[in-house]
Amino acid sequence: MSKLFKCFCFYLISSFSVVWAAETDLAIEITQGVDEPTPVAVVPFAWGGNSALSEDIAAVVAADLGRTGIFSMMDRKNMLSFPTQENQVFYRDWRAGKQDYLLIGRQIPLPNNQLKVEFELYDVVRATKLLNGNAVGSMNKMRSIAHYIADEVYEKLTGIRGAFSTRIVYVTAKQQGDGKGTFRLKMADSDGYNPITILERKEPIMSPSWSRDASKLAYVSFESGKPAIYIQHLATGKRQRLQSFPGLNGAPTWSPDGNRLALVLSKDGNPEVYILDLRSYNLTRITHHYGIDTEPSWSPDGQSLVFTSDRGGQPQIYKIHLPTRKLERLTYEGNYNARARMTQDGRFLAMVHRGIDNVFRIAVQDLKTGRLDILTDTFLDESPTIAPNGSIILYATQKGVRGVLGGVTLDGNVRFILPSASGDVREPAWSPYLK
């Protein structure tokens, strides 16, 4: 209960100065599913209030679970009954419907525009109750309540912490090709709903990166006419421009301890990876090569950086161990591997990969076995970002003439597209856990 309270306090504290947009930028469309997903039924939750609710919480929970690809969600019109309390649950109904699990719930109005949701998860096969929970939140944060419930159910069923109560940031661009345009840095819920604009500029914005406590973003903005790195505090909107150097100032990524920023500067003649200590503002040069060294990203233990370098003639991923400066090339398959991101367990590397067909796709390399799997089959796929629990990779791709966000599970079995309502969508960055 206290954990839950903290969770919703976060949402209250983080009510940003920008107005929450009513429109939805992104909507999910599943393009491919797994062969044998686990069947789960989410029954519409009971509602004891007088006025109609603005959100169908059970439907949002079902959509969250369905998007992971490991569950298949039962269609409501196939349900034989609509239990909302334990004494209304008849397991035979759900066994007949070939369901493995059942989620029911009740929505109870509270004073001060608050809502309480009680929910229970049942194992249909074993005829037992698995989970008994409740959530309280504001009426206008009903989707957040739903994501919380989905996280609880996901963790109960998989043993892995859910990541639905997280956020994504991304960049949208509207441009005519004459160099003029409107660029926006946006933030939305992990399912693309509730987008808000964090920054709007006439000049390009790129490379957003979350701090590990999810309170700040670092990104590159050209608003001064040249690329510069900015840090923006999400709660206050306060911005700080880091000292700029001649040439490139780019590719910022936050260290796991939150105290350092890996970035790229070309002040010494060509792009090199540096680490900026945000407490002392000391700058340490990490790479020394006349080729391009860029796109640094931290290993989860903070001991290494992976980065893109063309020192071998074409872009490939390298890893440098910071205490010893020992360098290791990680990728060998394909003629272009770039912008790698590691999963939080350090096991997998997601990257942009170009093989012999010269098409850019998202690939994952198992760092233990060296095996590389190509996950996507679309066009110009880039900017992979991994959910904090490692379940899904979001990336930027093209649909028609437009940049959209795509999602794919780490095993490549489920893919979905988040079509955009406006402009080109690019460079998604998935937040860490928010609590």
Binding site: G177, P204, G291, I292, T294, P315, V352, F360, S383
Partner: protein, 169 residues
């Protein structure tokens, strides 16, 4: 005329050498051996009486295109780049910004590096032609500011470019 060709050859060789990261001295030796009578020193001497006015410069090519994943100045841009160089060398207060761009293929930050490489290749060409480094500023926009929208080679070839812009005459 021959001197002009050698100038191009030297500039090209230097750009290539820079891109390849080789030492420039080794490449210069190669270049003078390709010149017919070893007139390399004469070639760098561009302020040889030819006067280029700002009006002349205004009619010159200011956008220079590149091959995919390459940062080598193409020969069809040499003549106009040399005239820009002559003007800049003769007018030390004149200044240019070289904006490097890439097409949309490949990752965004890598393309920032590629755009910078292209801008620097043009900068190197101008400097070989007697322009002082202080008159040139380079900035990369990567793939962020395409000249032409679209997802085919007809757009991409227009986006792999360096734009030369005068900020002081």
């Amino acid at each position: 005329m021959r001197a002009n060709n050698v100038t191009k050859a030297v500039a090209l060789a230097l750009s290539v050498a820079w891109v390849a990261g080789c030492s420039t001295s080794g490449s210069s030796t190669d270049t003078s051996s390709t010149g017919t009578d070893g007139s390399a020193t004469q070639a760098v001497n561009v302020d040889s009486g030819v006067s280029v006015s700002y009006e002349d410069v205004a009619n010159l090519q200011t956008v220079f295109y590149f091959d995919f994943d390459k940062a080598v100045v193409k020969a069809d841009g040499f003549a106009d780049l040399e005239k820009h160089a002559q003007y800049l060398a003769a007018n030390p207060s004149a200044q240019v910004v070289l904006e490097g761009h890439a097409d949309e293929r490949g990752t965004r930050e890598y393309n920032m590096a590629l755009g910078e490489r292209r801008a620097k290749a043009v900068s190197r060409f101008l400097q070989v032609n007697a322009v002082s480094a202080g008159q040139i500023e380079t900035v990369s926009f990567g793939e962020e500011k395409p000249a032409m929208l679209g997802h085919s080679e007809s757009s991409w070839s227009k986006n792999r470019r360096v734009e030369l812009k005068y900020v002081a005459r």
